[in-house]
Amino acid sequence: MTAILAACLLLVAAAGLAVVLTGDPARQALTLSALSLLLALLFLALEAPDVALSEIGIGTAIVPLMVMLAVRKIHAPGKVDSRSAGR
């Protein structure tokens, strides 16, 4: 059991680092999704299936989807480039 927990924790740490190191927000939505899936695995290993289900629903589906749609809207042509206008 300890080995499974250690493996899950290491995977979560690695995925968290991957999210931080992903520069492009659109790609970050995907790494965030992977991180949430691994977090759900960790919660399952810690015997918290209810939390794991919530994490899968929110973390792997809704949040990345909202990020991707928001990024798509920001980068749409015909709008003021918010990256240069926001400074």
Binding site: A48, P49, D50, A52, L53, S54, G57, I58, A61, I62, L65, M66, L69, A70, R72, K73, A76, P77, G78, K79
Partner: protein
């Protein structure tokens, strides 16, 4: 704020957090120990109300008021997001025409997963008092899974199967019935959200008194709210554009 000043502020914050956190962590019970006073009390209370899923008993029975607050936050967030994402005065909504180009494999996956996710969502809501899951988890699965229609079919199919008005009503009715069940408990047993319904048999589908009823209320609210939230995001990101700017061929989607 310049970069060095920002680092100083950051370091002050980290040191402060470390000073407060270190003694707290040092006094935590060891990981995996058998000392769980809250667990002992919560499990006994859940069994007394014949709710097999102790987490649901905590969320909807023992601490139902907390969940009521969370549901209200969810309702307010969805309403706020819908308000922000509505097409502005200078924006026009463009109707997508026909089917978009989509890989057959993606389309097939959508067709297969749509009924599966719907059944899973309904199962999670209806068995929330017995097995892991509940209104929130099931509602999220239902509200998100519905959008597989867009992946499998077209935006038209999604619009037909997702009457936004119905979901707006669902959101309000779900949140309202949670409050109504709370008031009913107040009238029947003298406490807001008291478990006043017959408890049934331990492990049965209808057991735990108000827990399955509150699960259904939350399930309706979260499924409707999730569908509304995603529909507004989808509409704003895909089919709304500044007036006069035809930026893309109709019905086309990004991969």
């Amino acid at each position: 704020m310049s970069r060095p000043v920002r680092y100083v502020v950051f370091c002050l914050g980290v040191v402060g957090l470390a000073i407060l956190l270190a003694p707290a962590v040092a006094h935590l019970p060891a990981f995996g120990s058998t000392f769980h006073p809250y667990r002992t009390l919560a499990v006994a209370a859940a069994v007394a109300h014949r709710t097999a899923n102790v987490v649901s008993a905590i969320n909807f029975d023992q601490r139902g008021l907390d969940t009521f607050g969370e549901e209200s936050i969810f309702l307010a967030s969805v309403a706020g997001a819908a308000l922000l994402l509505r097409p502005g005065e200078h924006e026009t909504e463009r109707r997508p025409l026909g089917h978009a180009r989509m890989l057959d494999a993606t389309r097939l996956l959508g067709y297969v997963l749509l009924p599966l996710s719907t059944i899973l969502g309904l199962d999670l809501i209806s068995h929330g008092n017995v097995t892991p899951g509940g209104g929130f988890q099931g509602g999220v699965v239902l509200g998100t899974g519905l959008h597989l229609l867009y992946v499998a079919g077209s935006y038209d199919a999604l619009e037909k199967m997702r009457p936004t008005t119905l979901f707006e009503w669902g959101e309000a009715i779900g949140a309202g019935s949670y409050g109504a069940l709370g008031v009913a408990g107040l009238l029947a047993s003298g406490a807001f959200l008291a478990n006043f319904v017959p408890l049934g048999h331990f492990g049965a589908l209808f057991s735990g008194g108000t827990v399955p009823l509150l699960n259904i209320a939350v399930g309706i609210e979260v499924a409707s709210g999730g569908a509304i939230l995603l529909s507004h995001f989808l509409r704003q990101a895909m089919f709304t554009e500044p007036a006069g700017g035809g930026r893309r061929a109709s019905g086309e989607r990004d991969e």
